[in-house]
């Protein structure tokens, strides 16, 4: 229950942190909030030989406004997102999910970049970033690149990041005026990992017909799941009970949840359908209010 020995380096600059990571590779880990990494180290499931503490790198934290996107520094803590009034306006899906992501003390330290790079399939934020169609910015001594969310999450605890790369920034589209979003999850206790979580966003035209729908889930497979077919099934339709029930059924057949001692696969699949229908109904209502 104590971490194995490692070398600790408090980063002095991004360049130094990237150079160290390039030199040591997989054996070195970046330490951001540490709220997922340190527990695994305490269990000795993870035994890095070096921790590169990026907490001193203030330039990695903060939110920057684009015209129709927001860029969130990887080191931005969940508490800052929660306190920022802009989050509810521009990223309502994230604002709704934040209170159920772990607990206040965890959100005081936990960062969006650390959460995404950890890529836990049960975690909310990967599913939300995937649902919103975000992009992730990676830097290394070799250069920098943007990775689409759908390419970033490769599998359980696995991302497209190379051993020398750091996730430095997340770009998310700002909620459109004609959109409504909803995040719902079921967990055994508040703050626990979700048994199933559903994120959805719909956009409606002036007649109330759906022009875009996006549905994503957490803890429904090896990684965050984007429900492509279900999302597509709603476009061009008014979202009545029948359309929503059909989309929920498509989600149920598309996912492959792992099951656990607390929730069987069948139960998870059932809940995914229930939550999808509820979330779509709410998102649809919220989108209509804008007209």
């Amino acid at each position: 229950m104590k971490p194995a020995p490692f070398r600790y380096v408090a980063a002095l600059s991004l360049e130094q942190a990237l150079a160290l990571k390039a030199e040591i590779g997989d054996e070195a880990r970046f330490l951001a909030g540490g709220q997922s990494l340190v527990p695994t180290m305490n269990f000795r499931l993870t035994q890095p030989t070096m921790l590169i503490d990026i907490n001193p790198l203030d330039e990695l934290a903060g939110i920057r406004n684009g015209s129709d996107t927001l860029r969130i520094g990887a080191l931005t803590r969940y508490r800052s997102l929660e306190r920022d009034p802009m989050t509810a306006v521009k990223l309502p899906l994230i604002a709704e999910a934040l209170p159920v992501i772990a607990h206040p003390q965890i959100r005081n330290r936990g960062t969006i970049g650390g959460n995404l790079a950890h890529a836990d399939p049960a975690s909310e934020m990967p599913a939300i970033v995937l649902t919103l169609g975000g992009r992730l910015h990676a830097q290394s001594v070799r250069g920098e690149r943007w990775i689409e969310a759908r390419d970033f999450f490769v599998g359980a605890l696995t991302t497209a990041l190379e051993p020398d790369e750091m996730l430095t920034e997340i770009e998310l589209p700002v909620a459109a005026a004609d959109s409504g979003a909803c995040f719902l999850e079921l967990s055994r206790r508040r703050g626990d990992f979700a048994i199933i979580g559903v994120a959805c966003m719909v956009r409606l035209d002036a007649q109330g017909e759906c022009i875009e729908a996006r549905i994503g889930l957490c803890n429904a497979g090896d990684g965050p799941v984007y429900a492509d077919e279900s999302s597509g099934s709603l476009v061009g339709k008014k979202l009545g009970e029948g359309e929503i029930a059909e989309a929920a059924a498509l989600v149920q057949s598309a996912i492959d949840p792992g099951g656990s001692i607390h929730a069987s696969k069948d139960y998870q699949r059932h809940i995914a359908g229930v939550l999808t229908a509820r979330a779509l109904t709410t998102a649809n209502k919220r989108a209509r209010r804008e007209h």
């Binding site: 229950m1 104590k2 971490p3 194995a4 020995p5 490692f6 070398r7 600790y8 408090a10 330490l31 540490g34 709220q35 340190v38 527990p39 305490n42 269990f43 030989t49 921790l51 503490d53 907490n55 508490r79 209170p99 772990a102 607990h103 206040p104 003390q105 965890i106 005081n108 330290r109 206790r189 508040r190 703050g191």
Partner: protein
């Protein structure tokens, strides 16, 4: 592997300390073993139970999920820093006693530190907000009802003392 050590300067409950710490030393163990401030309790050591909660630069955090080496230059408050002097308790502590908010007391230091930070930010919380703030602290004795009542009383007392 040579032991990797770091010199840190940290202020705990207003007292400055200078120590050499091994990289892997958790903040919780640093407080308990190096500074002999054993009021911070260690429950699960993986961020679930909340017993080790302390306040670092104003924010309540799990001390089992930070390394002591990370606290260089920081200011920490532990449960030992709550009471104003040897004779008096902090209103949070008084309220916990008055409302029977503890039985075995193992979770209490973490709850006190969580709620100290919470009540500073939210001086007039409703019951739902208190329960949400408490959600990251496990108590296996009380069923939480008395803790919630204690926090309502503490909030009232703290508001009274600040006006």
């Amino acid at each position: 592997m040579n032991i990797d050590r770091h010199e840190i300067k940290v202020t705990v409950n207003g007292t400055p300390y200078r120590r050499s710490v091994e990289s892997r030393l958790l903040l919780s163990d640093f407080l308990r073993h190096d500074l002999l401030l054993a009021g911070t309790h260690v429950g699960c050591e993986h961020g679930v139970c909340g017993a080790c909660t302390v306040i670092v630069d104003g924010a309540a955090v799990r001390s089992c999920l930070m390394f002591a080496a990370q606290t260089d230059g920081r200011s920490i408050t532990t449960v030992e820093g709550l009471a104003p002097d040897q004779e008096h308790l902090h209103p949070l502590q008084e309220s916990m006693r008055d409302c029977h908010g503890l039985q075995c007391g193992y979770c209490t230091p973490g709850i006190l530190m969580t709620m100290k930070a919470f009540l500073e930010e939210t001086p007039d919380p409703d019951e739902a907000q208190i329960r949400e703030a408490l959600s990251g602290n496990l108590c296996r004795c009380t069923g939480y009802q008395h803790i919630v009542e204690a926090m309502q009383l503490a909030a009232q007392r703290l508001r009274g003392s600040s006006t």
